[in-house]
Symmetry: D2
Subunit: 333 residues, 4 copies
């Protein structure tokens, strides 16, 4: 049994991690923590997330110092980027395997953090060592990693949709892929803010041309993309509609074969033979669903996932399963 610590358990992705780890036959929850400054310190996880009542009623412990938690085997960091940036090195030094759900270690270029995250990275050596946890593509590196940077919610779906097409050179990248994505409100985190309040939420684009998931996607695809995120009027789930120009002569059959090669044996990507996914197909589930259509030398790929699961907690546990040699879908399905 792996002793497991979940840092930032009070958030939405944190609560999903708690549920997954709690039912994992090879992991046990050692502690749940929140920031020492948080009003939630001392409360039960099930006070904040009542769906866990009677299932996991552990307290949220304040964490100012990692020393009392350093004996754990596994740490999930479901925290703000700056917090992960500071904590990850300490847990690595204590010998833990760290799964970071923040953006703090996703891109191996320190300048990226100054530009897009607003802080100067202090641990460039860790950027080199961190493995990007896009589980379907980086399986081998994950097996040996000590620090896994779990991809962002939008980038997970976007990359799963585009990577096979780019790898097989099916796209004409002179025309930049256009990624229109809509996320549920939980993507903004569990916090009080006018913009997240019930009466203010409606479908709208945000961060047009300036969302930090755009460079995360572009860097890992090594391709230019236009990424336009939208806030949707639903609690959870992401749907991405991606429009690209194909190389001349590429047929739907060829595209289908490429997706089949990439994901035919991947348990958490579900390919659609016909049609495209709806958001409800994936909410509450650990899958990324992918469908597409081809016409007039263009392709529209639609990818859907639960932003808190395949876009966060489920992919983190999937990476942990890979890292420790468990079945890849253990506790997820």
């Amino acid at each position: 049994m792996l002793k497991t610590l979940i840092v930032g358990a009070s958030g939405y992705a944190g609560a999903e991690l708690v549920a997954y780890v709690n039912r994992h036959p090879h992991m046990t929850i050692t502690a749940l923590t929140v920031s020492a400054q948080s009003n939630d310190a001392g409360k039960l996880i099930s006070d904040l997330h009542p769906q866990l009542k009677g299932i996991v009623d552990l307290p949220l412990q304040p964490m100012s110092d990692i020393s009392e938690f350093s004996q754990v085997d596994v740490v999930f960091l479901a925290t703000a980027h700056e917090v992960s940036h500071d904590l990850a090195p300490q847990f690595l030094a204590a010998g833990c395997v760290v799964f970071d759900l923040s953006g703090a270690f996703r891109v191996n270029d320190p300048a990226f953090y100054d530009t897009f995250y607003g802080f100067t990275h202090q641990h460039p050596e860790l950027l080199t060592k961190a493995v990007y946890g896009l589980a379907e593509w980086n399986h081998e590196q994950i097996k040996d990693a000590q620090l896994i940077a779990v991809p962002g919610c939008y980038p997970t779906a976007a990359q799963l949709a585009l990577k096979p097409l780019i790898a097989a050179d099916l796209l004409d990248l002179n025309q930049w892929p256009v990624i229109n994505a809509t996320s549920g409100v939980s993507g903004a985190g569990r916090k009080a803010a006018i913009a997240n309040s019930f009466c203010e939420v409606s479908l709208q684009p945000y961060g047009v041309f300036h969302h930090r998931h755009q460079p995360e996607i572009a860097v890992h695809l090594d391709a230019p993309v236009i990424f336009t995120p939208h806030l949707g009027n639903f609690p959870r789930g992401i749907l991405e509609t991606i429009t690209c120009r194909l190389q001349p002569g590429v047929t739907a059959q060829r595209v289908a074969a490429v997706f089949q090669d990439a994901y035919g044996n991947k348990p958490l990507v579900r390919l659609y033979d016909k049609g495209v996914p709806a958001l409800k197909n994936v909410v509450g589930l650990p899958f990324c669903d992918i469908g597409f259509a081809v016409q007039d030398q263009h392709i529209i790929v639609v990818a859907a996932e639960d932003n808190l699961l395949k876009g966060a907690a489920a992919q983190a546990v999937q990476c942990a399963n890979i890292r420790f040699g468990f079945a890849e879908t253990q506790s997820l399905i």
Copy 2:
């Protein structure tokens, strides 16, 4: 043209007042104000409430002192209870007619405010003079009032449903009327709070046995009631399902006649010959809709209204129309 000031225009009821007054042929908006401490001071009303863009683009002026606004004829106070409590006397002293949408002057008993609102009332003489603006019942007093206390959202629907039955002595009040009410989230006001955030809202009772609208209803009906408010997962609207025991022998026909007598000529109460209202029938409209069913010496009355309109802004303007001798529905329908 009545020069009109709207205090607290940044809130949801405030924005509805702005729209109504703007299209009123006998009123003109002199100014919109917010608290001098508010982050919204200096913004345009249409920045906060974009539905008003191009219709009303006035700035929200900070108000610390009423002197610069004291030349207005009419003041709508869509503010916190304590703020109304402090401002109303000042505007009255300046000769304005004041329509207060807060709870500061609704009950003619100073002790009520200590118990239910958490402050000691400093103006008991105004409690005597204030007229309770339940428009269908207090028409004559409203015509002569300088200070109109516009009823709370829940109490408006509850009283419109129960007053005719109690006045005609149709109810056996040994059994307390049970008022189950569900309100849209806008009832909590425009503010950042975890409880109002999109992912946290779901149908749930709150303030069980302890909501301050319970005594407001009971005092004005002069009858005991059990009032259980619920938060609903919709932005606006209130639906109340009210169960009472009838006096022996009271028939549905008798009830229908009593309601017809009370509201047959009232333009903002719509009676249902058969069936009961759904919430959507009233959202965005200034009506209170009422239907009922009778069986086994019990009656179930269902009343629906838009909490921001008949439950706030529309009733305030209805009172102003009555006060100044305009058509009762002017600018409302």
Copy 3:
């Protein structure tokens, strides 16, 4: 491994049964069926319910004759009342254990069906043998039953809330308990109807004084109740707010003790020490959550459940677990 047949698998409760049985270590799905007349015959369950894609992709077989399915051990009937009424005797004759999720065998009084269900019951002898599957209360009878009538969605929550209070004689039943209940739209079944269409749904009472769950509740509680169901603007979940008069002198402590006695060791009822449940606490979960408040000789009990789970599929599987000696929560939590 119990060979299991799910009849009416195309509906919302049916799909939940499919998911539960699929992951049950002691049950295996032999077949999924729909009416021979259904347009869904021949489709995959995962075409209708895409959340099951890759998990259960079995076809929906048309069923005109039970003979080809009569070798199964367990039958779940998630069908219309009349269909269950006709099929149950045939499966019983074939030696199957039958869990009926319809209303066809819930009340041991043939006249009930003429009055409330619109058909004359042809199998009164089965009404005597059928066990009402309110799992927390009828555990012993369920262990020996061949035909289990799984309670209706509304009656499950209402009875779980009221039965302990009535059994301990805490209520003054001269005043009828008032049950206000709101259900998600899935309670109306998976079908095309204007009333269920997205733009038509909003909070509204229906079946006032005439819903057939009223007598189901009253008969099994042996007490009069006023039951007012509402349609809510959410897909799933039921919240019931129940107002009763207490016997003189009954305290909140006494009520808490009675609930604790009834459910302290019941894994699928979660009691609240303070506060009352919100709908979101139970959606997607097999629990019924119960909280209450007491004041002025009245009690308000709030019960919440997922209408498709504790109100249907989860309680059916809970009954099956009891019937066959498995852990009561097997595959449910």
Copy 4:
């Protein structure tokens, strides 16, 4: 007072027309009709659309023959395409001015109807005479027209967004504009269908590469476009996010100037100086809101409208106002 007939008043756009015409000072409702086969024939409009109760309580008359309605001045056809196709010539022959909200006369190419609407057009001479009612662009032709083909909901927003850019030659059309659009469920009409039922609706693309609004947009813009409509989980409103490649050197300032030239004096298009519209900004309002951002030789234009208003009923009344010389926004704002 223009005698006005609304055909197809039972639908969602029809009900909006009823409300607008009812409050129009120069129009009076002569009759509301539905198909003679409709179950709604004989009902009151306010039975189907209770928001109109007490405002318009006229019956829905069955229409098999136009003769009894041929004395009207103005006809709004809010009907199926085939029905409009058959009725419009009859009303034109009777001397009426016809505003058709269907697709029957939008494109001056008979073959278009065979391909995209599934019927052979029988009145090609009317296609020549019909004026496309994109009000901001075809003002002069509308003033003289007898038959106005009111644009489709999606095409209205798409063309208002793109026409100024194309007219000013700002776009590099070698890269096809990518229009991602999401519509509320009312866009599918008022009808019983599983796909529109509350529990089935979630964000999803549909008609990928095959929606008939794609050619409507492309023909009237005289430019290729990729149009991907989505169903959104809200009752009404359309938001379109449109990504295009700009000609080299085109700046945001140039784009702003072009939009200002096109719409600076148009009362029903609201331009955003900064940021882009959210859906809620326009729901219930007759506007199309437009905002944009420019970067790296790409532009993202966001257009929002209420699909039933600027996308249907409001634009129809706007066209009528233009046609008869009333203020363009009469009864709309």
